[in-house]
Symmetry: C2
Subunit: 354 residues, 2 copies
DNA sequence: TTGTAAGCGTTATCAA
DNA sequence: TTGATAACGCTTACAA
């Protein structure tokens, strides 16, 4: 293949004796090109192994046929599914995908957005990214369209694909209430996430309506990582009156909570119920068996990319919002609380493997 | 920001009254440009919000400052870490990264490679991809340099970053042998993976040297997915004389084995020992606690990208190989086999959570 | 040290 | 229906 220099459209023109523009038009499928010239061109192109340079085309058409995807970390199983969904439709639309890991760091995000703009991406998908500060907003003019996933800013009419942050959580809280829990620890999620905020509000309204203990100490400001789950449990379980159940900010976060609980000699669920949020693959494993609120991540990625492609094509005004349903998947990490929650001496956890 | 049209280098030239080329040279940091003109240019560029178009630059320099990464599926936790490692160094080198999911499908891989070439990527990283068929080889000339990860072709002197497929596995087999296992099931991994083949050979040589049962039925041709683990266990556990231990092709694969064993009423490890390969985050969780052979994936991604960048810069001949160490992490999914392996009526598995 | 001009490989405009 | 030509925005000889 790339032994010799790549054939250009000029080579095809010379090979056929036609003009550059005719070759271009023939290949672009313009209707007014004769069938015979078209086949002539196609055959020559085939023979020479000609493929149009996406770079030259991009320069001329001011369209790169590529989109940028910003995400905290693809290596976090909680979020990779979104990316996969986006790629599915990008590929179908013959768009390539620039992957950008921001680690939730605003500066890093801005750096990536800047280079995406330099590359004239046709659009961007921001998965749980910063979208409010003026530094970030400077890149969120209408020009390259963008779609937000999971994190939005109500001051702007952006395109948004999110989850119903009320229903699933509300089912989860009712579930815990029905089991008899009264003190629920809550891991809040990233500070400036709209979804995390909506969940917090849902939580707080249920604290009131279901009569849970209203104690600010029960709310911990961790993010979606495993480490944050460790930190949260570390803190919450040391409270003078620890919670009997913890609602984590994500499944990975829940795993951190469970690990820490186990380290402290507490068994899940008999000593502590834990509810996650995501329904990642491992949540369903028998040995994990995590009760969790399911998010339709891949579908959401598909929806976001589909919408983005539409905006790119039609240049219509943003402001659409698509909310995906959430539902509680009850598994084995929740059960009624142990009798006397106070000062209970921890029981040794029963470990399945080893 | 993108309210008005982007400023071009021409705008900067006009604003300063200098020539385009001078502006370009000043911004490119050419040493012969006067300090005062340089600052003049820089200030004007700053003021106008000028940023060079990566597309135009790419066309002219025939270099896109972007690399392609091909992977089966980013959403599979077994492989996402490689990508993260690659992105770490790409970003440091101001390169962007095109992500391509191939699902292990050769046609899909070829489609992606073709478009990467159309985009004139500076290089490619192929993570466990096809690299032998002539259809694929057609894209693997020297021209855009590439680095293979985990899967190679010995007929070609390619750059390769891989794992030591002997040491870790060999430790694992010795470990099983020391525990008293004699019938080991083995999930082979993808058919045309060199690493999978090396592991199979290692396995077979140990079958001989350690005196394991040499039974072709014990070798199952599954890939790295969870589903393949399910299929493998489904098959292996139904053998007239089932194995007392299974060596999976990956951690996700091992999880499939464990799930299926549990469904069949078998407890891991007391009824069946399972060894994985990867050491993904969840393997260390107390409730999973998987004995596994650790792969240094993120480091390998970093190494591959670093090597690729060097090739891009120096255009030196490929053929380097970097083999990363592997080691056995003994956790709780392995133990001595149950007494009479034959016709043993399965014991109910002890499930930790619910 | 700076300026002029050519060219990277396309597509779009307009004549023929 | 096809062909000549001008951009697209940059870098790089080469001339001044």
């Amino acid at each position: 293949m790339s032994e010799r220099k790549r054939a250009t459209i000029r080579d095809v023109a010379e090979a056929t004796g036609l003009a550059l523009s005719t070759v271009s038009n023939a290949l672009a499928g313009k209707h007014y090109v004769t069938d015979e010239t078209r086949t002539l061109v196609q055959q020559a192109a085939e023979r020479l192994g000609y493929r149009a340079s996406a770079v030259a085309r991009g320069l001329r058409m001011r369209r790169s046929f590529a989109i940028g995807v910003l995400i905290a970390d693809v290596a976090n199983p909680s979020s990779a599914d979104f990316v996969r969904g986006v790629e599915d439709v990008a590929m179908a639309e013959k768009c390539s995908l620039f992957l950008c890991n921001t680690d939730g760091d605003e500066e890093r995000q801005i750096w990536h957005m800047r280079t995406l703009l330099d590359r004239q991406v046709d659009g961007m998908v921001l998965i749980s990214q910063h979208c409010s500060s003026s530094a970030v907003r400077a890149f969120l003019g209408g020009d390259p369209p963008f779609v937000l996933i999971q994190r939005r800013n109500f001051d702007h009419r952006d395109d948004y694909v999110g989850s119903d942050n009320v229903t699933g959580l509300s089912q989860a809280l009712r579930h815990l209430h029905d089991l008899g829990h009264q003190r629920i620890g809550f891991v809040r999620g990233p500070a400036d996430s709209s979804s995390a905020l909506e969940r917090l509000q849902t939580f707080q309204s249920h604290v009131a309506s279901l009569g849970f203990h209203d104690d600010p100490d029960l709310i911990f400001p961790g993010d979606y990582t495993f480490a944050a789950g460790v930190a949260a449990a570390d803190r919450l379980l040391r409270l003078r009156r620890p919670p009997t159940a913890i609602f984590a900010s994500s499944d990975m976060n829940a795993m951190g909570v469970i690990e820490t609980a186990a380290t402290a000699g507490l068994n899940v669920p008999s000593d502590l119920s834990v509810v996650g949020l995501d329904d990642i693959a491992l949540a369903a494993f028998r040995s994990i068996n995590l009760t969790t609120v399911r998010l339709r991540k891949r579908e959401m990625g598909v929806a976001a990319a589909t919408l983005l492609m539409q905006r790119i094509r039609e240049r219509t005004e943003p402001g659409s919002e698509q909310i995906f349903p959430t539902d509680l998947i009850v598994r084995g990490s929740t059960c009624p609380p142990a009798r006397p929650a106070r000062g209970a001496r921890p029981r040794r956890s029963e470990v399945t493997l080893g």
